[in-house]
């Protein structure tokens, strides 16, 4: 029973920490993006890039800046990986193959961090630090600025400008992500996460075997891996590796870190639109689904069926004894609900229905609370959908946060909702029709289907966690999953920016007694229902053949 108590206490400790942190952090972020002040180093940066920080951009220019920045990022990272053997300190690593480089470059630029490579055996410190870690910051910052741009769409009136990408990006990176990462890295180091540039230790084991134990600058990367909802581990084992996540405290901290910004952004929304209730409603919807999923996953893990598991006492295969069932379920729910994709246990080893819930978290579109920035803008699009469907029932053409939802706004929102399911379902179907890809699946039957469905769900929603079992490093899967990540990230971003531009051009529609109140619990309930019925139920037929077929007996 003690493990149940430990589970409950850890869960509550996470909620407490978030409960205390989200208000000040959310307010701080609101201040960062509305401040008129530029720091000196920021001015230097603007001068270097050649932009005037005082000039705001239209949504199209904003999107063009964002896309060109991301394209350059992909090219640079791709180049890094292709030539790393000639760059010091390469640790004796070889150049990465073209298809894997392409997949990895996209993976990190899209904030997915799907890892078809094994960090310790294929990447040197420079590629890790100057390549991947930089993108850990940049990709998270990109997500954040898109959310801020969307909020501006609601806040400004009769204007075709939604801010300046470069200013937002620099502030997201240097005023939010960097300082908090440094702080988190120090705490992680103090609690046993390693940070060195040492060559691998050679250890002679008792059984007269030889082990190479690699070290590296882990803590610095670990912090932004969680805080930026990236999830790309320094080591292949990710947060199940003792150098990345040595003990229950670091496990707790990592869970808090990866939930921190996504759960604080609704507060930022509330602050910026001038109604904290609006932020609270979004937060409540996110939290309710998150908690529901956490409870369900934990319950399905504890009440496992199957004789072997009953005999063993718990479903511990593939899980760390350091953390046990409860903390593994917590980490897995948090990482799949936030587009992080870091893992401290193999998701394949979860009981079928718990594994189904992990997939479901991603299928909601990564909105509970989702990735840094992407979670908020995803949830806002679902809120727009909810207001549109239900708002009509109060007898007015729908309006949300003082803006009317006209055909133009609905075009952007509807296409957004359409994109990810299309990527996931088409990807899965194409892969299953491809003989080569079918060979990458290790399990048979519904579990095998789950492997591939999980992979495309993870890539399309920019999560990055893997179900394990799937041999992803083939040319086909590298290409297919890379495309899924690319489309799953940037098409929605473009649509959200378009939506922001369209909203900004509108005037303000004041709320009256006759307006649908989007701060009330009735609306929160509707928002949750729409997220589940409209967004996630699309996947029900596929889920039925995967986790449900496996799990319901």
């Amino acid at each position: 029973m003690s493990s149940t108590y430990a589970t409950v206490i850890t869960d509550i400790a996470v909620l407490l920490a978030l409960g205390m942190a989200h208000v000040p952090l959310g307010d701080y972020m609101a201040k960062v993006f509305t401040s008129k002040h530029h720091f000196k180093f920021e001015r230097l940066f603007y001068k270097a890039v050649g932009v005037n920080p005082e000039v705001e951009q239209s949504w199209k220019t904003y999107a063009a800046s964002l896309l060109s920045f991301s394209a350059v990022s992909v090219l640079l990272l791709y180049g890094f990986l292709r030539v790393q053997s000639w760059l010091p300190p390469n640790m004796g690593m070889k150049n990465v193959s073209p298809s894997l480089s392409w997949n990895t470059a996209i993976s990190f630029v899209t904030n997915t961090n799907w890892q078809n490579y094994s960090g310790e055996s294929s990447l040197g410190f420079l590629a890790q630090m100057a390549g991947l870690a930089v993108q850990n910051f940049a990709s998270a910052a990109v997500g954040l600025v898109v959310a801020i741009a969307l909020i501006r769409g609601f806040v400004v009136h009769n204007k075709d400008r939604i801010g300046n990408f470069w200013v937002d990006f620099v502030r997201a990176t240097f005023r939010i992500l960097l300082p908090f990462s440094v702080l988190a890295a120090v705490i992680l180091m103090a609690n046993g996460v390693i940070q060195n540039f040492a060559s691998p230790h050679v250890v002679h084991t008792l059984a007269a075997g030889v082990q190479n134990i690699p070290g590296g600058p882990v803590a610095s990367q670990e912090a932004i891996k969680e805080l930026g909802t990236n999830g790309g581990g320094f080591f292949n084992a990710n947060s199940a590796h003792p150098f990345e996540n040595p003990n229950p405290f670091t496990n707790w901290l990592e869970v808090v870190l990866l939930l921190l910004i996504p759960f604080s952004l609704p507060r930022t929304l509330g602050k910026l639109v001038g109604s904290k209730g609006q932020g609270r409603a979004i937060l409540a919807a996110m939290a309710v689904i998150f908690l529901g999923s956490l409870i369900a996953t934990t319950a399905f893990e504890i009440h496992h069926s199957g004789a072997a598991l009953q005999l063993a006492g718990s479903a511990m295969e593939g899980k760390e004894t350091r953390f046990g069932i409860g903390q593994s379920a917590l980490f897995a729910t948090a990482t799949t609900s936030t587009s992080t994709g870091a893992i401290d246990a193999a998701h394949e080893s979860f009981t079928p229905l718990a594994g189904g819930f992990l997939m479901f978290n991603m299928m909601l579109g990564e909105v509970t609370p989702g990735g840094v920035g992407s979670g908020l803008y995803g949830m806002l699009v679902i809120a727009i959908l909810t207001v549109f469907i239900c708002g009509l029932m109060v007898g007015r053409t729908p309006e949300y946060l003082g803006k009317k939802l006209r055909p133009r706004e609905m075009k952007f929102a509807a296409l957004y909702i359409l994109t990810t399911p299309a990527v996931v379902l088409i990807g899965t179907a194409v892969a299953l029709s491809n003989a080569g890809a079918r060979k990458s699946i290790s399990a048979s039957g519904p579990h095998g289907l789950s492997e591939i469905l999980y992979a495309f769900t993870s890539a399309g929603n920019n999560n990055g966690s893997a179900f394990a079992g799937l041999g992803g490093n083939t040319t086909f899967l590298n290409f297919a999953l890379g495309t899924a990540m690319l489309v799953g990230r940037f098409v929605p971003i473009l649509l959200v920016l378009g939506l922001a531009g369209s909203l900004a051009e509108q005037g303000h529609t004041p709320a009256t007694q006759g307006t649908l109140d989007t701060t009330k619990s009735l609306f929160i309930g509707l928002l949750i229902s729409v997220a589940i019925i409209v967004v996630a139920l699309t996947y029900l037929p596929a889920l039925a053949l995967g986790p449900l077929a496996e799990g319901i007996r």
């Binding site: 549109f388 007015r396 299953l432 009735l522 449900l548 077929a549 319901i552």
Partner: protein, 684 residues
Amino acid sequence: MSTNTSQGSLLNPRMLYREMPAAFKKLNPVTLFKNPIMFVVEVGAALTAVLAINNSSVFSWWIVLWLWATVLFANLAEAIAEGRGKAQAESLKKARTQTLARKYAANGEEIAVASSELTIGDIVICESGDVIPSDGEIIEGIASIDESAITGESAPVIREAGGDRTSVTGGTRVLSDRIIIRITARAGETFIDRMIALVEGATRQKTPNEIALNILLSSLTIIFLLAVVTLQPIAIFSNASQSIIVLVSLIVCLIPTTIGALLSAIGIAGMDRLVQRNVLAMSGRAVEAAGDVNTLLLDKTGTITFGNRRAVAFFPVGQVAMPELLKAAYLSSYADETPEGKSIVDLARDLGVEKISPLPVDHESIFMPFTAQTRMSGCDLDLHGVVSKFRKGATSSIVAWLSETDGETPSDLQEKVEEISRSGGTPLVVASELAGMRVLVGVIHLKDVVKPGMRERFEELRKMGIRTVMITGDNAITAEFIAREAGVDDFLAEATPEDKMNLIKTEQLGGRLVAMAGDGTNDAPALAQADVGVAMNSGTSAAKEAGNMVDLDSDPTKLIEIVQIGKQLLITRGALTTFSIANDVAKYFAILPAMFAPAFPGLQRLNIMHLSSPHSAILSAIIFNAIIIIALVPLALRGVRYRPASASSMLARNITIYGLGGLIAPFIGIKAIDLLIQLIPGLG
């Protein structure tokens, strides 16, 4: 066009039968393509039909049958909505019959011209018995006109040159007198022509909200299409591959067919509901905007108040007693034909003036009407050579009249007069001259009387989030008093057309939508500026051109009903969309186990309805999906029940009925259908 079109006949079998040919005609894929959801169903129906021919089975033919029924039911819903309009159009077309117009030629002669050959600017003459050949404006004369052809109202109306009642409508009939009309509409573009096009739905364009909803529904259709198309490779991998017929059934069940089928019927019926109340909306956009209105501008006179000041109290002054005042007031007014005068007589009668010593009204009397010079009215009675005079008028003029004979002004007069003014009323002072002695007898309290029930209506509007602003030419004190009594939120006193325009612009700058009614030419700019401008049919043609709706009954209070109809239209749309989407949950529970339980027996546990067999489960879902369309046609045509309430309570109520109901109803419906159809032999 009568207002009492029976609501009970929304859906009777005869109507279904009558519109069946139209429904079949709508099966043409070229026209059906405009409705992407039903188009998908039709393609699915055609595909399954081909498959059923090649590989015949009881199940496949039943599915084919019901898929076609689904498309047909959707077409039928639209046809019925249009059919109701057609009947109205027929009666209008009768009014449009060709007439011969008496046109003034350039040389001043009168020539007979077919009404269809008249052009704008032509001058025609109409006398009693003539049908007015086309829309126009009276430039000379006054006439009583029977407008029943368009309004259904048999009482004649007066139209005259000059002022705000100059416009006449083609197809209406002159009952008396002679008028000269300048034609203002080309043949084929007259008011009646536009009305016919409108009720027939020929010119119906999708409204912005309808377009937005269509975008959403189309994207949902694409998502579900994708979900099902990609399901086959997944199913093959899982050794649970499905027949095309089953996959088509799944698509049809998941895409929002209910709202897709009823959406255009809802729009047509919304316009229709306005027509039933004798309001013509020039565009569906205006009807939608009506639901969104934040600010309602209402003219005080005729809308909020009866429009005529009425006597509400008598106050004797000085030494005079009440009976004497009653008698004087009565006598000063009994021959007065103005509404104010009549109201004084009525009130005096109510207070028992006739019981006072016999009134000498049967004697010779001379009525003195109100003139700009005297600024009073009254009458002189000749009683056997003795003349007594009774006068009523503004304080200053009566005081002046008294002073002609050194009559005294009682000290408490000023107090009474001020008291009445302060309360927003108008004081009318009464004096009499008996035997050469002029005496001031008292004051009549004239008041603008607020129509009964207005306060409650404004309260309802407030609950709906709509602010009412009263527009009046009165001074601020009077305006404020009436405003408070009627319960409006704000008022604009001493309003000029420019003030009105500015008020609308300010409201709109703040993001609020404004609705107003108007009839005069000087209302035209404001009517055009307002988001919903309702012109009175009696008004000038400038006003009618400027507004986006015309009220044939010329009743400005109808603005409130128009707002409610706009809201009802939007609510109906939202309710059926919610219902349609909520339905999907139950359908999943019917179809998924039916599809996959054979391969994965564990999934049988999802068959919570315990449907008898996979085939009957799928067919039940399809049948439910089709029948619900027909079952909801009356609701789509009538609109969901609407009661003014705050957004929150309205949402809670509608979510319970259509959201929760939409979740539960199909579970019951599908189970019931399954119980029946499992009896079909050979269904398997």
